[in-house]
């Protein structure tokens, strides 16, 4: 049986495909290793938002984030990650941060998966 977390992992692994982008984009879980070159994605589960009813966890749901670090203005990866989120998650764009030291644009989406 596939766990919900491994299902989420499989979904985000599609972001590494060259099917949609001209070059492969690395996708990491929790954090990126040293010497990682942008663009890259990092996803992480960090909370549970279960629906409780009748004194049980009637529907178990994970909450987490997926982040894109990119040097590219108007990166097409933004549209693709959001289409993937549309198809599989309840989600919202949490923040967009320009990191001045590195010139990286950091997008952060929060998702729920039940």
């Amino acid at each position: 049986m596939q766990t919900k977390l491994s299902a989420i992992s499989d979904i985000f692994a599609r972001l590494a495909s060259t099917e949609y982008f001209t070059s492969a984009t690395n996708v990491y879980h929790y954090t990126a290793p040293d010497k990682t070159e942008a663009p890259y994605f990092i996803w992480a589960e960090d909370d549970r938002v279960d629906l409780t009813a009748g004194n049980i966890h009637a529907e178990k749901a994970w909450q987490g984030t997926i982040d894109l670090y990119t040097h590219t203005e108007f990166d097409v990866r933004i549209d693709y990650v959001e289409s993937l989120l549309d198809a599989n998650f309840i989600w919202r764009l949490e923040s967009v941060q320009y990191e001045e030291d590195t010139g990286l644009i950091h997008y952060e989406w929060v998702w729920n998966y039940a």
Partner: protein, 147 residues
Amino acid sequence: MPNIKIEGFDDINNLITELAANGEGLIKTALYPASHITYEEARQKIEAMKNISDADRNGLLTSLYHSKMYTENGVVYEVIGFTGYNERGVPNIVVARSIESGHSTRDGKSNVQKHPFMRPAANHTKAQVIQKMQTVISQEVQKIQKG
């Protein structure tokens, strides 16, 4: 000819009129003690953080605040956030955001892992906040009814 008399409509009318006139004030009365539950949860998460300097932790703890409430389109808002600078001269909001969201390192060649604490604080206290608001509003409505 049977005769039915129902009483109490005047009281209900008076209550609705009072609530319509003072609804925003009622919500604000309930919002502060309710949001303070989330505030306290956030404080506990800051105190429990690992891999954070004393300066950053003290800055977050001392600058965590409730904003003044404001209303937009009939919705009352209050922000729980951070203000000012810590003893290292770094804005506390920048420290909070870097912990909540993670960030790249200065050379852009690696990544500092995120450790969300404000969003989980809100998630974990949502039910308590709703319950607290219901309790306070119920008490305030009873006060209005008693005149």
